[in-house]
Amino acid sequence: MSRTTHPKVPAIVAWGTGQNVNLFYLVELSCTYIALLILIHQPSFRFGIFILVLFFVFYSPNPAPSRPAVREVLTEGLVVLPNTQQTYRFLVNGLADRQTECGLFQHGEVHIQGENLTSLKLQADRGWISQQEVKRFYRESRLKARLEFPGQFPPKELRLVLLNSQQDQAIVRRGAEISGSTIYPDAVYLVFVTDRCVLVFHGRNEITADAGS
């Protein structure tokens, strides 16, 4: 250590000249540098580290790499007002495509997360909804219902209607479920389970999807 510049010198010079006054950064860098000087004795390595530290002390990219921009904050839920409905469209062709590999998908489950979901009544255009139940989870509730298909083969497309037939508003939780350039914000999805596979389908609210397109 004695034959090289004092390890704190680069940081002190940077601080003194105002080139870098980020104290936290300089302390972490100096500590790392001192540790490396104690651990590494080869002069060539020490010189290389010294040059690197000089670079790290005095250089910072300008402009600095940017933080990702916030495109959408989805903390508020989707409100389903009394006597209104929301329709979700699911493309479920995967059920037929995966039948050989996974087995027959005779039934699945509809899942909805949100608040006050007991006021919702579900309807499917190409399936039967039954065993609708709501479980509370802190201030949240989770709605689960059984979905069966009338025919031998599952449909390729399904529309699910959430009808609020009561006087209280229901809220469907929203979040940043993303695929490619599309957001699937509403916590409304289908799950199909066999002995070999789990298939999850995300649907899109028809109004939101239309507005988006």
Binding site: N22, F24, C31, P68, V70, E101, A176, G180, V191, H202
Partner: protein, 503 residues
């Protein structure tokens, strides 16, 4: 030839047991300045005697293959975001209101791309950005990110500088993840070499470490929680290989700077202090001649830890930051625990009381569950050192460290009162077990040839197999090992015409 070798080895073992004093025996394992690492003779095992270059080359090729396998298997999926996804219905209160889409409720954009980031991970991007500021910046006050700011903020800022502004914040953290993974492989090699085992044994240990999923599952994470274990592993090497040759002032300075940075590296300072304490007490207990040295080391370590913490506390206060640790009342936990023990000893009812922040006796049942998760991650690296404890008797320090580091790693659960198992909390203990497994395999090879050579190969490949065979099972095991993670069947997730197969 082989018989003569074995006979020589047996004689050496008998001599070491009978003909030498206990002090001499332990001196071989000494980490003090009296027996420098370089003078400890390497074990001349038959493993390294038979076609060493071919065998070393084979194991090195295995490491390359395993590294490639891990990159292919894990890179590209944000496992941390995935584990909290709604497909798994996480039954934890922390996820209330956030569990749809995996603990993220903001859509970010980066040019044309849109994406989500785990809520706890985003502050790391702010920290890297602040470290790049040459003025006095504002750091993100997210408490959890402060406790690991060195590896998820400071080090990535160096990568971003080297990239000249062309490397994004997220990418710079991912580069650090990869570098820390490679460092853990190299350090495993160096630790085994520093403990006087041959190159092949060290390579075998490195091969096991390559697949340690706590690193591969975190390739795309922004939180670097495992980094505390990596620094601890680094200290194991430093303590054995470099510490003996350092002067007293160098030791003190090294301790000071190490504790200052490791105080904000996911608990590394606590792991390192625990190691130094155990090492000093153990060596002082078994070797009278180096007792003064050991107490000096221990005193210096404790003093450096306190000063490092003060320096760090001042820095944190200067930037109006808060550590997670300040949010939890350790004194309250201690008082409650003492009350619990006193009540239990005097035969009183302990209902409604807490032992180590867990209600009733649930601390023990929770820890048993954690041990189960720990063992099931890789039974080979647990069972082999346990069965080979006689072979490994010259490594008592490492053997003692395993349970201590395991429990210390779980201390975060005690502080929080969580019954949630995170594998990275067990990572320091796992690192030691990897080292011990490679050592045990090497010793088995030397003791019972030719059966030993087959057994050693089975041990190494068994340990490698459990880490690498089934990435989805690792995913399940490393995030709580809960039945909600249905990794026993394929998972397909559909978004209209787009489909993602996770496993």
């Amino acid at each position: 030839m082989a018989g003569t070798k074995l006979q020589q080895m047996l004689e050496a073992e008998i001599k070491s047991l009978i003909g030498t004093s206990m002090g001499k025996l332990w001196q071989v394992a000494s980490t003090s300045g009296i027996v420098p690492f370089v003078t400890v003779p390497s074990r001349d095992l038959p493993l390294s005697a038979s076609s060493p270059r071919i065998m070393q080359g084979t194991v090195f090729a295995l490491i390359i293959l395993l590294a490639a396998w891990n990159i292919v298997s894990y890179l590209g999926t944000d496992w941390e975001l995935l584990f909290s996804k709604h497909y798994f219905y996480l039954p934890y209160k922390q996820y209330a209101g956030n569990y749809y889409v995996g603990y993220a409720q903001t859509v970010f954009s980066d040019g044309d791309r849109i994406f989500a980031i785990h809520k706890e991970a985003f502050p790391s991007l702010n920290q890297v950005h602040s470290f790049l500021d040459t003025n006095d910046p504002v750091y993100d006050q997210n408490a959890q990110s402060v406790d690991r700011i060195y590896t998820s903020g400071f080090l990535p800022s160096l990568i971003a500088r080297l990239g000249g502004g062309h490397v994004g914040l997220q990418t710079s953290i991912e580069v650090i993840n990869i570098l820390l993974w490679l460092a853990s492989i190299l350090l495993t090699y160096l630790v085994i070499r520093a403990w006087s085992f041959d190159q092949l044994t060290a390579l075998a240990g490195a091969a096991i470490a390559t697949g340690f999923p706590v690193y591969s599952l975190m390739f795309t994470s922004l939180k670097t929680q495992y980094a505390g274990a990596t620094l601890f592993l680094g200290w194991l090497y430093i303590d054995r290989a470099i510490w003996p040759r350092l002067t007293a002032p160098e030791r003190i300075v090294l301790l000071l700077v190490t504790f200052t940075v490791s105080m904000v590296t996911a608990g590394a300072a606590y792991f390192i202090l625990a190691y130094i304490t155990i090492r000093c007490l153990f060596m002082a207990a078994v070797t009278r001649s180096i007792r003064a040295d050991q107490f000096f080391d221990l005193f210096a370590a404790i003093a450096a830890f306190v000063i490092g913490k003060l320096v760090n506390d001042m820095l944190v206060a200067h930037y109006h930051l808060q550590s997670t640790l300040t949010q939890y009342r350790l004194d309250k936990t201690v008082n409650e625990t003492v009350d619990f023990i006193l009540a239990a000893l005097s035969g009183q009812d302990t209902a409604g009381m807490k032992l180590l922040n867990f209600p009733g006796y649930s601390f023990f049942t929770t820890m048993m569950t954690f041990v189960g998760n720990f063992v099931s991650a890789n039974p080979v690296i647990v069972v082999v050192p346990l069965l080979g404890i006689w072979l490994l008797r010259q490594q008592p320090l490492l053997l003692i460290l395993v349970p201590i580091m395991f429990l210390l790693g779980q201390a975060i659960s005690v502080l929080y009162g969580w019954d949630w198992y995170y594998a990275y909390a067990s990572a320091p203990a796992t690192h030691i077990l990897i080292v011990l497994t490679a050592m045990a395999a090497s010793l088995v090879f030397g003791w019972w040839r030719p059966v030993g050579s087959v057994l050693a190969a089975i041990i190494i490949f068994g340990a490698v197999y459990f880490f690498n065979a089934d990435p989805p099972s690792n995913f399940k095991n490393y995030y709580g090992n809960l039945s909600i993670y249905t990794v026993d069947r394929h998972l397909y997730v559909y978004h209209d015409y787009d489909m993602t197969k996770y496993w």
